[in-house]
């Protein structure tokens, strides 16, 4: 997995037209909000032709990211976009938040696998296992941007 953290004014990956986009997520979403997000996202990406295994991974990663943001990110607004695989461009999950900057890159780099003595901490491991690259930075408008490629 490739991991990159860029601190300021980043705009490396040009966005493509999304097959799923939501910009009105305000944590905490709660059980129903998170379930609704997972269901809507899965339905959209499957309808767009994403193969089901990729769709499952995408939704699982988004779920873990939102759960982590709720717990550690201190954000009150989240945005999520899914861009389809096109030519050489991979399937891409793009996430934004206005929190204090939860460093998922570092978290994923040090994430450990299943441990029979530990109840938490598998989320970043799951993200690491499910994606082939993770990039994170801050946009010029001050949002944190996380881009995951599958």
């Amino acid at each position: 997995m490739n991991l990159v953290y860029i601190q300021n004014d980043w705009s490396i990956v040009v966005p493509l037209s999304p097959i799923f986009y939501v910009d009105d997520l305000h944590p905490p979403l709660g059980a129903e909000g998170l379930e609704s997000l997972r269901d809507r996202m899965l339905e959209c990406v499957l309808q767009a032709g994403v193969v089901r295994e990729d769709a499952w991974r995408l939704v699982a990663v988004a779920d873990e990211w939102v759960s982590n943001m709720e717990e550690h990110g201190n954000a009150d607004r989240l945005r999520i976009s899914v861009e389809p695989s096109q030519g050489a461009e991979p399937l891409r999950l793009r996430l934004w938040d206005n929190g204090h900057g939860f460093n998922a890159v570092a978290g994923a780099a040090f994430a450990e696998g299943p441990d029979p003595k530990r109840y938490r901490g598998l989320g970043l491991w799951m993200i690491r296992q499910a994606t082939r690259s993770l990039r994170q930075g801050r946009t010029s408008s001050g949002e944190n941007e996380t881009i995951l490629e599958f």
């Binding site: 059980a31 998170l34 296992q129």
Partner: protein, 126 residues
């Protein structure tokens, strides 16, 4: 909304089935932990088949509970086996733990029973 529901049944030979339905995610993993804790306190050795056929989704917190509880039941001389997972749930487990043997699994209840009745050493990974 698919809330987590559960039912405990006797399968015989000291084995029980915990039949779950719904979601095992960040909002319900504590309930699953408590269910398995309670079962283990009341049954010795604890031999538990967790029927996952009606579980639509398991998040990382849910998987953590299964990993930790499987180890705890094994230490208590029993075992925990997840069975009848949907393709989506099985895919998540494969992604999370590609190394076989971290968690005892079976395609069905019938195939889980002999695994649960074996001594723990025989079913755990060396």
């Amino acid at each position: 909304m698919e809330k987590l529901q559960h039912r405990l049944e006797v399968l015989g030979q000291g084995v029980h089935a915990l039949r779950l339905s719904g979601l095992v995610d960040v909002f319900s993993y504590v309930a699953v932990k408590q269910l398995i804790d309670a079962y283990a306190r009341e049954h010795t050795p604890p031999r538990l088949y967790v029927d996952m056929a009606e579980v639509q989704y398991v998040g990382s917190s849910g998987w953590s509970v299964f990993f930790v509880q499987a180890s705890a039941l094994e230490k208590a001389g029993g075992a925990l086996c997840l069975g009848a997972m949907t393709d989506r749930v099985q895919h998540a487990l494969n992604m999370l733990a590609p190394r076989k043997g971290l968690l005892l699994t079976a395609p069905s209840e019938a195939e889980a029973l002999p695994l649960l009745l074996q001594p723990p050493q025989a079913v755990s990974e060396p």
